[in-house]
Symmetry: none
Subunit: 113 residues, 2 copies
Amino acid sequence: MSTPNESTFQSRLQSTRKQRDLNQEELANKAGLPSTAISHFESGSRKPSFDNLHKLAEALKVSIDYLMGRTDDMDGSLIQEAQIFRDYGKLTDDDRALADDFMARLAKRNPDK
Amino acid sequence: MSTPNESTFQSRLQSTRKQRDLNQEELANKAGLPSTAISHFESGSRKPSFDNLHKLAEALKVSIDYLMGRTDDMDGSLIQEAQIFRDYGKLTDDDRALADDFMARLAKRNPDK
DNA sequence: GTAATATTCGACGAAATCGTCAAGTCGCTA
DNA sequence: TAGCGACTTGACGATTTCGTCGAATATTAC
């Protein structure tokens, strides 16, 4: 649930690499990593660090959210819950006030947790 | 160009947290992390691991690419000043589902766009 | 002022990734 | 068969993050 699906990153890294027609060493060169690192990532024996995750996304020209399975969009501009943002833009002013009030009530009854 | 701008992540984490009206401990609870971890991330003394990066993005409901400075799109861009989106960030998952449904109903009865 | 809250910082051992290297497997082709 | 390229796997020491804790320092409110 809150933990990312491990296998998603592995398989998306591999499938994206093959889609770009790169072998592990070629991707490694692009990303500035040793080729064994790619192998470790695709086999799941390691997870990339902050910096290396960024390098991989840059080398493959995909979004990090896609690589990590948070979105199915490779361009990654939008994430999943964005529907509510789109809905809000469609509302009339009156309904927008309704929505504001409704949301404020929900937020207020959940101080945090 | 290949290395992420370190300060971007720090400042975006902090500014997004404050936009959601959360203190470090509240965000920490949402993400399932100790509050000191948030402090370390915002001060730049640590960078989040693969798993923790995912948790932070989920808790704040933003894209990882935004947090890491690869895009300027939080996901919906222009509307993030509205109070409703600050409230939305405070909701539990259950209440978020309620809010999604409520918003969808409002949007559906006003198809004029 | 005091008190409560929020944040920073450093240290600790445990755990993970880091880059590097060596040795191995598998598939293909001459 | 032998050889080659692609990939796998495990180990190493080094570095980093991990969670936890304590103490110091803002920041805010009373």
